[in-house]
Subunit: 100 residues, 2 copies
């Protein structure tokens, strides 16, 4: 099983990020405000960061961060998350995944 | 003279950026739309990128990118440039610096 596939099935909300990226910061803060306890992987800080990067590229993500997975499914980057939020679709999605 | 100080006095508009950063992309596109011929330095692509990073940190910029200089003066990052644009103050500033 792909490394990323295994990681994203372990928790309701998984975010791949870089600590230096302000777009990632926006997405992390937004989910935090919802009260979600996301699993956050800072690719610039963890040993297997490069490996995960490669796996995300293979999944078709480019550019790769932020990458948000809800309920094991790839949902999107900052644009998608913010637009789901504006459409009021984000909270139901989080509830269904057991994140709220 | 500080390396950055010299670089920013050479052209009316100078942007320090990273090619991978979408916030930097937004700022570069915005200035391009104005018809400005900015001097763009991608810190992740040029040999003296690390040196410039250090110089920007010494100038008190943190986080450092994007960093926009107009007429040799530090104006701000993405937030400042976008807010100046919304206040209709950006174009006059560019004109005064001879960038338009
Ligand atoms: N439209 C995407 C933009 C994603 C993007 O451009 N991410 C940049 C960082 S801001 C990136 O991954 N750059 C390549 C890298 O950091 O490896 C989104 O909404 O998330
Ligand atoms: N509020 C600042 C945000 C600047 C920021 O957070 N920049 C990030 C990249 S998006 C940064 O420089 N991170 C550290 C680094 O890349 O060295 C702005 O509007 O420009
Ligand atoms: S690195 Fe600047 S917005 Fe992502």
């Amino acid at each position: 099983m792909d490394m990323v596939t295994r990681m994203v099935s372990e928790r309701p909300v998984v975010i791949f990020s870089r600590s230096s990226c302000s777009m990632c910061h926006t997405v992390k803060s937004l989910l935090l405000e919802f009260g979600v306890n996301s699993s956050i992987y800072e690719l610039d800080e963890i040993p297997k960061g490069r490996e995960i990067e490669q796996a995300l590229l293979r999944l078709g993500r480019n550019p790769i961060i932020p990458a948000v997975f809800i309920g094991g499914e790839f949902v999107g980057g900052a644009t998608e998350i913010i637009s789901l939020h504006l459409q009021r679709s984000l909270q139901p999605m989080l509830k269904n995944a057991g994140a709220l």
